[in-house]
């Protein structure tokens, strides 16, 4: 009896000590776990806010992302007088650098892949309507016809580093610039080599890079087209990817109850008005996601689907009647969080 009591006591003591040691070990692990250092930078570029949050990586990498995006802005902005785009606007041609030439080549390929729904020569039409500018107005059909005659990506010539356009044609990279900023950011993050995860937001174009420390996925909100600046229609849970949205709510003017949005169709020279409120595209490149969101908004769902498939991208279409359609590749990652919307067929 005495022996079994002693044995029981020893076992209990041992269990107690083991438990306490386990808990102590957990506390010590928690205390000394090396959480990756977070760097955050917020600045202004591409006519919008640039926000960089990154985990791990060398000191100054977030700052390097900011500088790379600023450099890109300086080469492609229409509002910076000495940018390559402005110089091409003034002189019809410009000898640029290798990065610009590479970007231009990729942009023209996207114009081609979208059948011209995304068109880098949309500048004359954007200026004519001036949606979001100081003097938005409805132009005459003659004016629209004249601007459309200057809109055709196939007239852009790229020879080595020299880019030229016909007289009067204006390049406007507004539909791809923020996504290109995400591409530039990714190159800096990859070059660092030690960045574990990062989120870069150039306006509403997003790069999710690497892994989200402590979580399985990144969570990217999709803006509620009818809500305020910070209201969401739903969320996308994703790994490394690029996400961009084009919608009729960001810049527009209204006249006689008609909304004229800032996305002009290169096919009829008029603001798109096709029953869509927004299109969000997820792709493996920033320029691609941004240009595709505009192209899909112009084309509508049916014509967009084969293009999305060919370019290995997915999209979420939000309609005027608040129905939502997500392509098969993203449907499982997308969740509506706003009762005003419903998935089509659900």
């Amino acid at each position: 009896m005495a022996n079994s009591g002693r044995l029981r006591r020893s076992a209990l003591l041992a269990a107690g000590i083991l438990l306490a040691a386990g808990i102590l070990a957990a506390v010590l692990t928690d205390l000394f776990r090396k959480a990756p250092q977070k760097q955050s930078v917020v600045s202004f570029a591409m006519g919008s806010v640039l926000s960089v949050d990154l985990y791990g990586g060398a000191d100054g990498t977030a700052e390097a992302v900011k500088n790379a995006v600023a450099a890109l802005d300086n080469s492609i902005s229409r509002t910076i007088g000495n940018s390559y785009i402005s110089r091409i606007g003034k002189n019809g041609k410009c000898t640029a650098d290798g990065d610009f030439a590479d970007n231009m080549k990729a942009l023209l390929a996207l114009c081609e892949a979208t059948g011209g729904a995304f068109d880098v020569t949309i500048g004359a039409l954007s200026d004519l309507w001036d949606v979001g500018g100081a003097t938005p107005r409805i132009p005459t059909q003659d004016e629209i016809d004249a601007a459309m005659a200057l809109t055709d990506y196939r007239t852009v010539s790229l020879t080595g580093f020299q880019v030229s356009v016909p007289p009067g044609t204006l390049l406007d990279l507004g539909a791809a610039g923020k996504g290109m900023a995400c591409d530039a950011a990714k190159r800096i993050l990859a070059a660092d080599g030690e960045v574990r995860g990062a989120v870069v937001a150039s306006g509403g174009s997003i790069l999710c890079y690497g892994e989200n420390p402590g979580k399985k996925t990144w969570t990217v909100g999709v803006r509620d087209p009818d809500g305020g600046e910070n209201d969401l229609a739903g969320v996308i849970r994703c790994g490394e990817c690029f996400i961009s949205t084009s919608g009729n709510y960001e810049k527009y003017f209204e006249l006689d109850g008609v909304r004229y949005c800032h996305i002009i169709s290169p096919f009829d020279g008029r603001p798109v008005n096709n029953g869509l409120k927004s299109v969000t595209v997820r792709a493996d490149g920033g320029m691609k996601s941004d240009a595709l969101s505009t192209a899909c908004f112009v084309l509508g769902e049916e014509k967009s689907l084969p293009i999305l498939q060919a370019l290995n991208a997915d999209a979420i279409f939000i309609y005027d009647d608040n129905t939502v359609f997500a392509t098969a590749g993203i449907a499982g990652d997308f969740e509506l969080t706003n009762d005003a919307y419903r998935m089509r067929g659900a």
Binding site: G5, A20, L24, C208, V220, V222, R223, E229, N230
Partner: protein, 123 residues
């Protein structure tokens, strides 16, 4: 005589261990840093960072001509000389990640925390 499982000496050893284990469990289960902070960026610089919990009454700050109101409820841009007034229309920022930006004046107000549910918003 009925013998107890633990003697007094055992209890002197066990009780502190038990208490330490309990304290450790509470430590492990502590709420992680999700406290909301208001950050104001002017140009490319952070010019103000205030934990929302630290605010007891409404206070107003002006950066780059943009007037910002902070209160225990959140933050908002109340006036700006910019033409489009998108920043003012954005209204009260309360949730982590909420942002109001005045791009022409290069001023942004953001609610941040070390942990957030939404990493970014596509628009």
């Amino acid at each position: 005589m009925k013998r107890r499982i633990f003697s007094k000496t055992d209890l002197i050893l066990i009780l502190p261990l038990l208490l330490a284990a309990l304290a450790a469990l509470f430590f492990l289960a502590r709420p992680r840093d999700g406290a909301r902070r208001v950050v104001v960026i002017c140009g490319g610089e952070t010019v103000l960072e205030v934990p929302l919990d630290a605010l007891t009454e409404t206070e107003t700050h002006t950066f780059g001509g943009v007037e910002i109101e902070l209160s225990p409820d959140g933050a908002r841009i109340v006036s700006s000389p910019c033409p489009d007034q998108i920043c003012v229309r954005t209204g009260l920022l309360t949730k982590i990640g909420d942002t109001a930006a005045c791009v022409p004046q290069r001023v942004a107000v953001k609610i941040v925390a070390d942990q957030n549910d939404i990493d970014a918003v596509a628009y």
